[in-house]
């Protein structure tokens, strides 16, 4: 065989190579386009998110502040018949109210700035003051300048909205240095109120915490256990198929339908628990459980069979195999699914509307059975408030919800990493 004469094959290859090279330019261009498109999608999504977060933060930061007026009050001379001891006991605020604190405050404000301004004190201003007194009973025996919230009208005048006369007043007070916006820690401590100056997020936040706790405690074990059953033990038969279809279906059913279920079933069984985090949590648990089952099954599936074989071969029973080996290894994956499910539950509004969690509850819930709202519903309710002061409060509440979400994700990611490290 003489290798120096090009064979047919060699000739056809030459032709092919030329054709191939001609196309290469195009193919690399396509490659670049594709890559930039892919990168573009990530960047676009990130930008939308950034845009949302930035606008929300920009709008919402003001929601953590409120307009406050400095009022000099002579407590010693006001004749408040409340002793410092009484302040240390429960119900001190009401005792102060009974002793005429609201009037004292009103009077002091009128003295200092005239009756017009005094009329613009927030309706709950005395309550704020009472809280300050409880915190520092020594105030009772002296003269002090206290900061109290003003009415929504004056607050919006300060923003440059609303009544012209009030706007002038606001400007005048501001120039005197006694009026301005201050950070409102109380926002994180109070519950809902009709006056945006008085409204706080703690009630809804606590409601969300309690609800999520119930959801987690129900959905996680049930979800994980059914995932284990379906993936490891269930015989492949019609019944298993039915269970599988119902779970997949439940993951896809619109959330509002779970609300209807909660209404028709849970509230029929526990009629007294309308609006309670317990019922909310149970409803959301049903919604979250399938998500955990599905991700749990995937996580379990991805544990290599060799681990199961290894354990079985030294005489571990199937239950031991799962609880000693498979579940610990699948845990990070299960946690991921749980985060997704819980995040969705955390932001859910519609089903909770059905079971009464849109109630106006002026005090934070005492426990799992007392009426409560949750963050997303609070946001929904506030976004529909007439008072425009709620616009900022709404954004602030959104920020709180997002922070909650981030904390929840953070905890789960931390746990996930920990578990991964341990193995």
């Amino acid at each position: 065989m003489n290798t120096s004469i090009p064979s047919d094959a060699d000739i056809s290859r030459k032709a092919r190579d030329i054709r191939l090279a001609a196309r290469l330019e195009q193919r690399y261009a396509a490659e670049r386009r594709f890559k930039y498109l892919a990168m573009g999608s990530v960047i676009f999504s990130a930008l939308v998110l950034a845009f949302l977060l930035v606008t929300m933060t920009a709008n919402g930061l003001a929601g953590f502040t409120r307009a406050e007026l400095k009022v000099p009050v002579d407590f010693a001379g006001a004749g408040l018949t409340v002793t410092a001891d009484r302040l240390a006991q429960p119900g001190a605020e009401n005792a102060l109210a009974a002793a005429g604190l609201p009037d004292v405050l009103q009077f002091a404000a009128a003295e200092a700035y005239g009756p017009d301004v005094a009329a613009q004190l927030g309706s709950g201003a005395w309550r704020d003051l009472a809280r300050q007194l409880v915190a520092d009973p020594s105030l009772l025996s002296r003269e002090a300048t206290v900061s109290v919230p003003v009415s929504e009208d004056l607050a919006s005048a300060f923003r440059g909205d609303g009544d012209r006369a009030l706007q002038a007043t606001a400007r005048r007070l501001q120039e005197q240095g006694v009026f301005g916006r201050a950070f409102d820690w109380g926002f994180m401590e109070r519950a809902d109120a009709t006056d945006p100056q008085e409204a706080g997020i703690w009630g809804a936040l606590k409601g969300s915490l309690l609800t999520m706790l119930v959801t987690l405690l129900l959905a996680f074990p049930i979800g994980v256990l059914s995932a284990v059953y379906l993936e490891e033990y269930a015989p492949k038969n019609k019944w298993t198929d039915i269970i599988e279809v119902s779970i997949n279906n439940l993951a896809a059913v619109p959330s509002i339908i779970f609300g209807l279920l909660g209404l028709a079933v849970f509230l029929a069984i526990f009629p007294n628990l309308r609006s309670a985090p317990l019922i909310g949590g149970m409803t959301l648990a049903l919604m979250t459980m399938p998500v955990i089952v599905i991700s749990g099954r995937n996580a379990i599936k991805s544990v290599p069979p060799s681990i199961r074989d290894g354990a079985l071969a030294i005489g571990a029973s199937p239950v031991q195999v799962v609880f000693h080996h498979v579940l610990p290894l699948a845990l990070p994956g299960i946690l991921t699914g749980t985060i997704i499910g819980m995040a969705r539950a955390l932001g859910e509004t519609a089903p909770l509307l059905m079971i009464g969690m849109r109630a106006f509850v002026a005090s934070p819930p005492d426990g799992f059975t007392s009426p409560s709202s949750v963050l997303p519903v609070q946001i929904f309710l506030w976004s529909d408030e007439i008072d425009r002061g709620f616009v900022e409060r709404t954004s602030a509440a959104i920020i709180v919800l997002l922070l909650f979400l981030l904390v929840m994700n953070g905890v789960a990611i931390y746990l996930r990493n920990r578990f991964e490290r341990r193995w």
Binding site: D309, G310, A311, A313, A316, H325
Partner: protein, 271 residues
């Protein structure tokens, strides 16, 4: 080919008229995967004193048959076993058989080393723990050390028992798996191509180890390497297309096969 069947060369033709009772005795065992017959009426006796090698071309059913011996094929839903397998005279497929206990008695080592993603210590201690073999922590420590020693791994890992078993090299992992199997003090150890994922040095180490363990446990090893079978075993069973074609002393099988098929395989005509 190197042969190291020390004192047994002179004994009676293996597997058929051997002295003493068989540890495992299979009678007309057939295995089906669904409709498909993977093992066809195989009868074989396995003795504690020898290492038995299963050889044969890929897909001939070596692994399948091996897994019937400790009912690991129970994990394959489509698998079905006919015939009878006696362990110390008792049928392991009888309905009251406790599979968990069976597997503690008949250990298994797999083709790919599969240590648990736990510490080396826990890998070994797991079996004794679930079987309640150790009464105390010190007893457990003792078992762990001894198993690792027997598996020839102790010196290499004694200072890092808390490291993850998966951090070891392939050969070490496989020895860890052997130690894990030893730790529950089984009577039989089944090994399915234990060296096929290992390098030659690790392979040599495992082969030595098998030699050391011989006599204490009945050992069955599946291998696709005839050289390996020749090196480590005293009895060889040659499978082909689901049949046990020939079973006997390793030396006889390799030097003087009785069946044409065996001969063809040994000389590399297929496989």
């Amino acid at each position: 080919m190197k042969m190291n069947n020390p004192d047994l060369e002179s004994s009676v033709a293996a597997g058929f008229t051997d002295a003493g009772p068989a540890k495992i005795s299979a009678n007309k065992v057939s295995v089906y995967y669904g409709e498909k017959k993977a093992i066809d009426e195989v009868s074989i006796d396995i003795h504690t004193r020898y290492v038995t090698a299963f050889i044969g071309p890929s897909g001939c059913g070596k692994s399948t048959f091996l897994r019937t011996l400790n009912r690991m094929n129970d994990t394959i839903p489509s698998a079905r076993v006919d015939g009878e397998i006696l362990l110390d005279g008792q049928d392991i497929y009888r309905s009251k058989m406790d599979v968990v206990q069976l597997r503690a008695r008949v250990g298994m080592v797999f083709q790919k080393p599969n240590p648990f993603p736990k510490s080396i210590y826990d890998n070994i201690a797991y079996g004794p723990k679930i079987h309640g073999i150790a009464q105390s922590k010190s007893e457990l420590d003792e078992i762990v050390e001894q198993s690792l020693r027997r598996a020839g791994l102790w010196e290499e890992v004694k200072d890092r028992l808390t490291d993850s078993g998966t951090a070891l090299s392939g050969g070490q992992q496989q020895r860890l798996c052997i130690a894990r199997a030893i730790a529950v003090d089984p009577e039989v150890i089944l090994m399915d191509e234990p060296c096929s994922a290992l390098d030659p040095i690790a392979t040599a180490r495992i082969e030595e180890l098998i030699d050391e363990l011989r006599g204490r446990y009945a050992i069955v090893i599946v291998t696709h390497s005839m050289q390996q079978a020749a090196r480590v075993s005293q009895r060889t069973a040659f499978f082909h297309l689901g049949n046990l074609v020939e079973y006997g002393r390793t030396s006889d099988i390799f030097t003087n096969p009785r069946k044409e098929r065996t001969k063809d395989y040994i000389t590399g005509r297929y496989g």
